[in-house]
């Protein structure tokens, strides 16, 4: 892996660790829909995880069309966000975590969000794993790089 790619991945990891929430975008019948989710990512950034009740629109959408995006940023609602903030958009394919992996992946997730342990236990809560394909990192207003993590 090139140093440049490694550095960018490190930047993304740091951003992901610093942020609790991501914007998830799903779509159904050509209608995009965005939601905030409490997320965590695997250390290799190949997966992003979140929990959702299975009665929500986002769940219904991602089951119908698993192609999703997530957006994470560190803006703080100040004028200088426009050049100081870093924003990362990731595209990937969402699915309910396989039962065989659930416990292990959920541990990764709950390490970041221990307060959601109760939520994770409900039979109607789905633990979603997004297999990430590519990230788009934006900084310094319009500086954009693309990083492929999975083909």
């Amino acid at each position: 892996m090139s140093d440049n790619k490694k550095e960018k991945l490190n930047n993304i990891s740091e951003l992901f660790e610093s942020q609790s929430l991501a914007v998830l975008s799903t779509q159904k019948n050509d209608q995009p829909y965005s939601s905030l989710v409490a997320f965590a990512a695997s250390s290799d950034l190949e997966s992003v995880y979140f929990l959702t009740p299975n009665t929500t629109r986002k769940y219904e959408n991602l089951i119908t069309n698993p192609k999703v995006t997530i957006l994470v940023n560190n803006s703080v609602n100040q004028a200088d966000d426009i050049y100081n903030a870093i924003s990362v958009t990731g595209i990937g394919t969402a699915a309910v975590a396989a039962a065989s992996d659930r416990t292990q992946l959920l541990n990764v997730y709950l390490k970041k969000h221990p307060h959601l342990k109760g939520f994770s236990k409900a039979p109607t809560t789905a633990f979603i794993c997004v297999s990430m394909k590519r990230y788009f990192m934006v900084n310094q207003f319009q500086n954009v790089v693309e990083i492929q993590v999975n083909s």
Binding site: G118, P123, T125
Partner: protein
């Protein structure tokens, strides 16, 4: 900072670290008064615990689930229970535990201690009042002491503290709690000194009991009471109770035993000792600059000061403030045991007798004058029982909470409501009523001729088995058209109940759920969690919890029967009043009866939220409503809002019951429901109790559900998460 501070270090550490109680003790100790051996776990340890375990966010999630202003007392109780369980199930990290453990062993070994709260705000007169945070007596062994330290931390979020959160300045981000560990003194006699008599500022008060002070504080043993001149200490009055028992340390913390004949006849203090306590209390006042509420004890005739705090409790009494009444609902185990005997063996049999006696009176043959007297007598009787309901029955419900707390302390389950499984199937009266309804429905299912007859609005003759059972049902439970508190606005007759029975008969019977947890195993696990000397206590508290659960539901049914008898007499009066041939004198007589002249309440009309009309371009609709999960499961159905008792009789199989609150006289429709949603909050409210008996999803505390959900809306009730999802159009 060390995880444990000695009393000599308290003043240097400051109130922010050791809290008000510890600081007071240190000052008392510094002045040469005798206090028990005392150490303190400073606030910093609490802070480190929260940080290292990351418990803070979980507490924040609990507290911020719903605005406090929308919460009922019972919901605050529930939050407190859940937070308490978080502390119970979150161990102290090993790096802190190790030092803490060894310092506790070093200080107390196997000697029993009192584990007391010491919040930094407690030195402040505005927030220093008893009963908000927990203290535990007779705790033995470092493991057990460490567990109780966590429970004292948890009591920073006790229901009482949450109720008075504004006065306390309770803020999860800044509030802290220190814990005082005090050697338990084997008290001969103990009591309180109140520097200022609340009803006369020229007087002071001393109360005293034999044995431990806890019996006095909890109100379990009536104390001797001395009223003294505040300035001279002269005894102005001595009020002697009938002395029977004293409290002593035992396996459960505190036990009770009968006093000897000699002590029965002798006050716990002589005049000289009374003066000695008054004198010490005055010195405390001089030391702290304010009249004091001081707890003391005598051990081998030596006066020992347990704690002292400024008197402030009077400052929180406000006639419009129900919180102090809520706090009286906390009852000790001893108090609940006495209350149970009173309710089960005296009050309920009396209610049953009254309802039966009234049912036997044939007022149709009465003169109008006698009927008027009868209505008034029934009104008086009903009013009396409503008062009893609030004064005795409601506080007894605390037995459920007490059992829940004992269960959680012993078992430390992940689910703080696991204990509920042991309360179900206690033979609720409302379940017996529902069983009888089901029996009637089964008769219709099996007899097409009967069904056709009922469909045609005909009722079988008196000797028909269905009619006999129906009459028996109505005799016992009324015709279901009126419910407690509904007043005299409902219409009566068999039509409603038959409509309901036809609806029941359309579907196979709903069985009580059997797929819950293994209750036998849970009960064994609960009992196994107690050492041999505590097993009887464990079994007794379980029994108390089950009876409290049962009576919480049954008492409404009994009250409902008395109300039904009142309503029957009112109907008779109304019927005579509407008779065009009525005599003028009789009309005047009847018109003077308040129950007959009362204007029925306006039917409640739900407030339509603006922009809710979907024919307009702009509209508003609720998609998800959050409440508290009160019955596990998930179900989808059409919403049926219950605004008045008659709505219950139009309930259809599979509807979701949506209401502001259900009382046990309304829960007969629950077997028809696919789920239950209540605006009123709490895990232990009646709708939730019956929903769980049938294994139905249930959500309580769904604020504004009656406004946000319309009749016929397709809704999904997620009883695991407490989320109601309203079906909305595809995007």
């Amino acid at each position: 900072m060390k995880p444990v501070l000695e009393i000599e270090d308290f003043i240097n550490a400051g109130i922010d670290q050791v809290g008000g109680k510890a600081l007071c003790l240190a000052k008392i100790h510094e002045q040469g008064f005798i206090v028990p051996k005392t150490i303190c776990i400073p606030c910093q340890i609490y802070e480190t615990y929260l940080k290292q375990t990351r418990l803070k966010n979980t507490i924040l999630l609990e507290i911020n689930r719903k605005p406090f202003k929308h919460m009922r007392w019972e919901e605050i109780w529930d939050i407190s229970l859940r937070i308490r369980n978080l502390f119970l199930t979150t161990p102290i990290p090993p790096n802190i535990q190790k030092d803490l453990f060894s310092l506790i062993v070093e200080s107390f070994g196997d000697h029993p201690v009192a584990v007391r709260s010491s919040a930094p705000g407690e030195d402040n007169a505005a927030s220093s009042f008893a009963g908000l945070h927990d203290s535990f007596l007779n705790i033995i062994g470092a493991d057990n002491i460490v567990k109780h330290i966590r429970l004292v931390w948890a009591s920073l979020y006790s229901d009482a503290a949450l109720l008075y959160r504004k006065e306390l300045g309770l803020d999860i981000h800044t509030s802290q709690m220190a814990v005082v560990l005090q050697e338990l003194i084997p008290s001969d006699r103990s009591g309180i000194f109140f520097g200022l008599n609340p009803s006369n500022s020229n007087e002071s008060v001393i109360e005293s009991v034999y044995g431990l002070n806890q019996a006095l504080v909890d109100g379990d043993v009536e104390p001797d009471r001395w009223i003294l001149s505040q300035s001279s200490g002269k005894i102005l009055n001595h009020i002697e109770p009938v002395r029977k028992q004293y409290a002593y340390p035992n396996a459960q913390g505190v036990g009770f035993a009968d006093l000897s004949e000699r002590k029965n006849q002798t006050p716990p203090l002589d005049d000289q000792e009374v003066f000695q306590i008054w004198e010490t209390g005055r010195k405390m006042e001089a030391l702290f600059g304010r009249p004091q509420d001081m707890e003391w004890t005598f051990c081998n005739d030596q006066l020992i000061i347990l704690q002292s705090r400024p008197i402030t409790s009077v400052g929180f009494k406000d006639s419009d403030d129900k919180r102090s009444w809520y706090l009286t609902l906390h009852r000790s185990y001893e108090n609940l045991k006495k209350l149970y005997v009173k309710i089960e063996h005296h009050l309920i049999p009396q209610m049953i007798d009254e309802a039966t006696r009234l049912g036997q009176i044939n007022f149709q043959t009465m003169t109008t004058k006698l009927l008027c007297q009868e209505i008034e007598q029934r009104q008086t009787l009903y009013d009396h029982w409503v008062k009893v309901y609030w004064a005795e029955f409601i506080p007894f419900a605390h037995g459920i909470r007490l059992f829940g707390q004992v269960y959680n302390d012993a078992v430390t389950p992940d689910d703080p409501y696991e204990f509920m499984a042991l309360l179900e199937n206690t033979g609720l009266k409302s379940m017996a009523r529902n069983h009888l309804l089901e029996k009637l429905a089964q008769m219709i299912r099996c007899n097409m001729g009967l069904k056709t007859m009922l469909d045609d609005d005909m009722i079988p003759e008196m000797d028909h088995p269905f009619r006999r059972l129906l009459d028996k049902f109505v005799e016992e439970f009324g015709d279901l058209s009126c419910t407690t508190g509904s007043g005299n606005e409902c219409q009566h007759g068999n039509n409603g109940i038959i409509r309901l029975l036809i609806e029941f008969a359309k579907q196979p019977p709903r069985q009580k759920h059997t797929d819950g947890p293994d209750v036998k195993r849970l009960q064994e696990n609960y009992m196994d969690s107690f050492p041999a000397p505590k097993k009887k206590f464990a079994a007794d508290v379980l029994h108390l919890g089950r009876e409290s659960y049962r009576l919480r539901d049954d008492d409404n049914i009994h009250l409902g029967r008395i109300e039904a008898r009142l309503i029957e007499s009112v109907w008779e009066g109304q019927s005579r009043l509407s008779d065009p041939l009525i005599d003028t004198d009789e009309q005047k007589m009847l018109a003077q009866i308040p129950a007959l002249s009362r204007v029925p309440d306006e039917p409640s009309i739900s407030i339509e939220l603006t922009l809710s009309d979907k024919t307009s371009k702009r509209w508003f609709k609720s998609r998800q409503i959050v409440g508290h999960p009160a019955g596990p499961g998930i179900a989808t159905g059409k919403a049926k809002r219950i605004q008045n008792p008659q709505d219950l009789l139009d309930f259809k199989q599979g509807d979701v019951l949506v209401c502001s609150g259900v009382d046990p006289n309304m829960t007969f429709v629950i077997p028809l429901a696919s789920a239950v949603v209540e605006e009123r909050g709490g895990m232990l409210i009646h709708g939730a109790i019956i929903a769980r008996e049938y294994g139905l999803p249930c959500i309580t505390g769904a604020s504004q559900a009656m406004q946000l959900i319309k009749n016929g809306d397709q809704i999904t009730v997620d009883g695991y998460l407490g989320i109601i999802t309203c079906k909305t159009d595809e995007l």
